[in-house]
Symmetry: C2
Subunit: 211 residues, 2 copies
DNA sequence: GTTGAAATTAGTACGAA
DNA sequence: TTCGTACTAATTTCAAC
């Protein structure tokens, strides 16, 4: 249920094109903008805020849902109030060709909220929410360490979540998110040496799908 | 609007206690469980699925909202369909006592979906969604590098998002998420040496609040 | 793509268990 | 507290424009 679609993040992003489904115009984006702020708004109220008719709003709403642009509606819950006050990130190095097993084990860990495969020093990052720090420790040493696919882990704790946007959309803040090549100031006062881009570690190119 | 409440993640988690507001019983949790899967469900249908009366469902629903256990309702959007096919993590080292500035600058970057302050080698992790890899580059070198508070960055790309749960709740999978100390098998076949826990780097204890 | 009216459903209030 | 019912208000659907 929580297994989400492969999003092709590693492939080449085609700037202008919007997936393969319906073309999203600026009204579609505005609908998404309203909906990510208030997922329970009525379609009638949505229509008014977007500036279109009710019927049109229903049509577009359904289209966005059917197309998959809207994946689901969800409630954001306060983890602390829910009793899960500790959040940690665990960076995992996965043994080659054991990704399938790793994924399978992940699905069996309810405390994992998010898992992404990354380039860089580690292979995956998982975010867990638990009640106390001891639970993080037991999770890493008792659960993760028992997975043969896991070669090594590195755990850091989240001290504060500064920002969390429901979902980032293109055009937020009017600024086009494509690379505006202009680059007005070539690179005067920027200590570029301090900026590291970390590519895939070993030969992890073909690993995006399970092996 | 996206500035979320300090969640005290770094403090000591008190296992049994549920915040300071209302006590959440198992019915409250069940409501949250349904709501995080379908944020647009009607309260009538919610009542039925949870097994309580409509009136009761309305009362509890409002209580959860008022208490803050439910922070908001939102739509999950497919970033690829929305034209933001690239996701990256940027690990940032922040100059001491410039957190306030760093936070302020973050709020002005719409491509940032998430930012957390962490222990470990870096001070913060931010997740960005953009249209193409060039946008990541320009974001890091042109925007982040210009912030005096930013000492250094390290960028990795997300190749695939394996798992994304709307929100983790206690009791998911019946397993108590508190540390069950029993530890049946002391530590036989586990290569504990491979498991690293990374604490705060310098004297970053008091940095959870802006300085 | 829009408007308006009918049918359905949601939200509220209140008394009883 | 929780439930059940009746009442009111709103939303969704469907038709014609």
């Amino acid at each position: 249920m929580s297994e989400i679609s492969r999003n092709g993040t590693g492939g080449g992003g085609q700037p202008g094109r919007i997936g393969i489904g319906l073309e999203l115009d600026h009204i579609h984006l505005k609908i998404l903008e309203v909906l990510r702020e208030n997922g329970r708004i009525s379609v009638a109220a949505l229509a008014e805020r977007v500036g279109i008719s009710r019927a049109n709003a229903y049509t577009r709403f359904e289209a966005l849902r059917a197309d998959g642009a809207i994946k689901r509606f969800t409630a954001e819950i306060d983890h602390v109030r829910a009793g899960l006050g500790i959040t940690a990130l665990i960076f995992v190095t996965v043994r080659q060709q054991m990704w399938k097993q790793f994924r399978a084990e992940l699905a069996r860990m309810p405390e994992v909220e998010y898992c992404a495969i990354t380039t860089g020093q580690h292979d995956a990052m998982i975010q867990v929410r638990v009640a106390d720090v001891a639970a993080v420790h037991s999770m890493v040493t008792e659960r993760l360490a028992h997975i043969p696919a896991v070669k090594a882990t590195e755990t850091v704790f989240i001290l504060d979540e500064v920002l969390k946007r429901p979902y980032v959309l293109p055009g937020d803040g009017d600024r086009p998110r494509t690379s505006r090549r202009p680059a007005p100031e070539p690179q005067g006062d920027v200590p570029l040496g301090k900026m590291r881009f970390v590519g895939a570690a070993e030969g992890r190119a073909a690993l995006r799908k399970d092996t």
